[in-house]
């Protein structure tokens, strides 16, 4: 019996190896063919064209901008909500609201994509008449809503695990609730909050359907959120939607994009877990 259980324990390692090995072997021919210099110096990403360009920065720009917009929504809003739920709300309110907020990250992302493209973008076009049908702004804003629970939930957990004694000390010195929250609880919980931010970044970088639907599928080297551009993930979707023979350049290119994506999210995930661990040791 134990052998079966142990196999269960190893399966997670097998899955990780499966992902890493597949990404490495299937993207290998791509990286062997494309000189590193062209990845860095080309300014367009058109690996499937007759005259291919391999500027990965065109894809990274899309990921960077959409993630940036999402963070501009999720970090302030998520942090304020975390402070509110941890320091201001009654226990009853918190117990009702926290699971409801978490529903925001349970909504299927294709539904968010629908909402961004068909509801938010037309609304934004009233304010910004020049906004194209596909825009990184709209996708980023909705993605920000989606990752709020990651910031709020983890952030609130870490703020609440700051010892009561510290708060009481600050109250005894005459500080108010918000003062205690900002000057005592927030610094005390900072590495926990930082972990929440980092994990939220990782979520946003890896998010696929929202950006594939609402931000556009054309790779473009632009930092303008009002423009449309493909992210790393959207490129994979766009190529996958077409006919994709095994071993073709298109097939290899999505694994190359996947390898880049894996490295980025791995970095954020490891950093996030290191921060979380440090926080648990400190408290």
């Amino acid at each position: 019996m134990v052998w079966i259980l142990r196999f269960g324990g190893w399966i997670s390692v097998l899955v990780t190896f499966g992902i890493v090995i597949t990404l490495v072997t299937e993207s290998g021919p791509f990286f062997a063919k494309v000189p590193f210099q062209r990845l860095v110096s080309d300014r367009m990403w058109t690996p499937l064209f007759a005259d291919p360009q391999y500027g990965i920065s065109a894809l990274l720009a899309g990921t960077l901008v959409t993630t940036g917009v999402a963070l501009l929504v999720a970090v302030p809003l998520g942090t304020i909500l975390a402070i509110f739920l941890s320091e201001f709300a009654s226990v009853r309110l918190r117990e009702v609201v926290k699971p409801m907020l978490e529903l925001l990250s349970a909504v299927p992302t294709v539904v968010y994509g629908y909402f961004a493209l068909l509801t938010l973008t037309p609304l934004l076009q009233i304010l910004l008449p020049d906004l194209p049908q596909f825009s990184m702004l709209s996708a980023g804003l909705i993605m920000g809503i989606m990752i709020i629970p990651y910031v709020t939930s983890l952030g609130e957990d870490s703020m609440r695990s700051v010892p009561m004694l510290l708060r009481e000390g600050a109250y005894a010195l005459g500080d108010g609730k918000l003062g205690v929250a900002l000057r005592v609880v927030f610094p005390g919980a900072f590495s926990g909050l930082a972990a929440a931010y980092v994990l939220a970044i990782s979520r946003a970088v890896g998010e696929t359907m929202i950006v594939a639907i609402a931000a556009g599928l054309q790779p473009k080297l632009t930092m303008n959120p009002l423009d449309s551009a493909a992210t790393v993930t959207a490129f994979i979707v766009q190529v996958s939607l077409g006919d994709l023979p095994h071993g073709s350049i298109g097939y290899q290119s999505i694994f190359a994009a996947g390898a880049v994506l894996f490295l980025m999210t791995l970095g954020f995930n490891l950093a996030g877990h290191a921060l979380r661990r440090r926080f648990h040791h400190a408290v």
Partner: protein, 308 residues
């Protein structure tokens, strides 16, 4: 005189702080309502645009070039079959892994490695599971662009959720239960099977429901392995008339799924297709939010009713 001045000062500061606190409390409350409002707007929007499309015909028709005749039959059948594969992979393996790590695993570096690995796996973007499935299941194992490959991709994707839920639920059982079983001569396996698993069923079920609701809404891994968006036939039936009465041919059938079908309709121009998308989205939302609601209630029930 000076102390009076000081007191006055202190009073002012205190009342200023109280005012700030009051305002921040209100701000937080309003932002909270606003954020939850997004969820309500989302549901309402889908209902307004899609509810009128949902009828018997919509549920029993194949996709069509004519929006008004199109339906989600192949999509919901595909999703159901995918979930069968996903559940039969993720539940036994996830629970086994959770039990192993919590009850059997020695405290050493290898176990530490597995733990970090699971935490990291939970954060791997879902589309990368799709790429793994494409390279490994579709081409290396030669499953093709099939329900089996899709279900396995989703199974790997939700595995960490089941593992973590199992572990957390086992961790809440006090060690005195284990010691009591051992004192009566039970082996570790008997303690696990007769006691620990029974007491943690509620927690594990919560995790399983959350995992399945996540899997139902996922579309990007299915797109990368090449789920088709236009499927006008059903996979071979799992039950057949002649012996042995069960058939596994459906595992290797091409498929579509609800989120894929919705994605296809979203990306088509024309309001009629968008209404179809809203209808499919409404079905998806009701299923996933419903499952999450059940999970929340179940978790609350477990926490209230079990006092060690």
């Amino acid at each position: 005189m000076r102390s009076e001045h000081f007191l006055e000062n202190q009073k002012q500061t205190a009342s200023r702080r109280k005012a700030i606190d009051l305002w921040f409390g209100r701000l937080g409350f309003v932002l909270m309502l606003g954020t939850l409002g997004v969820l309500a707007v989302l549901l309402l929007n889908l209902a307004v645009n899609g509810l009128s499309r949902i009828d018997w015909h919509f549920l029993t028709s194949f996709p069509s070039r004519k929006a008004a005749e199109a339906g989600v039959l192949s999509a919901w059948v595909g999703t159901t079959l995918l979930m069968l594969v996903t559940a039969s992979l993720a539940i036994p393996l996830g629970v086994a892994a959770g039990v192993y790590l919590e009850e059997y695993a020695p405290k050493n570096r290898w176990t530490d490695f597995i733990e970090i690995n699971i935490a990291n796996l939970a954060g791997v973007p879902s589309i990368l599971y799709g790429l793994m499935a494409l390279g490994l299941f579709v081409y290396k194992f030669k499953f093709g662009q099939s329900i089996l490959a899709g279900g396995m991709a989703l199974g790997c994707l939700v595995l960490p959720i089941v593992i973590v839920a199992t572990r957390e639920s086992l961790r809440t059982i006090p060690s005195s239960i284990r010691e009591a079983a051992f004192a009566l001569g039970a082996t570790r396996w008997q303690a696990v099977w007769h006691h620990l698993l029974r007491y943690s069923t509620g927690g594990i079920a919560t995790g399983v429901i959350l995992a399945m609701s996540r899997a139902i809404g996922e579309s990007s891994p299915l797109i990368t392995i090449g789920a088709l968006t236009f499927i006008a036939f059903l996979p071979p039936a799992p039950l057949i008339a002649q012996p042995p009465f069960v058939s596994f041919e459906w595992l290797f059938s091409p498929f579509t799924a609800l989120p894929i079908q919705m994605f296809n309709w979203v990306s088509r121009p024309g309001e009629e297709f968008q209404a179809n998308a809203a209808a499919a989205g409404l079905i998806l939302m009701v299923i996933t939010l419903g499952m999450n609601g059940v999970a929340i209630l179940l978790r609350r029930h477990v926490q209230r009713n079990i006092k060690w």
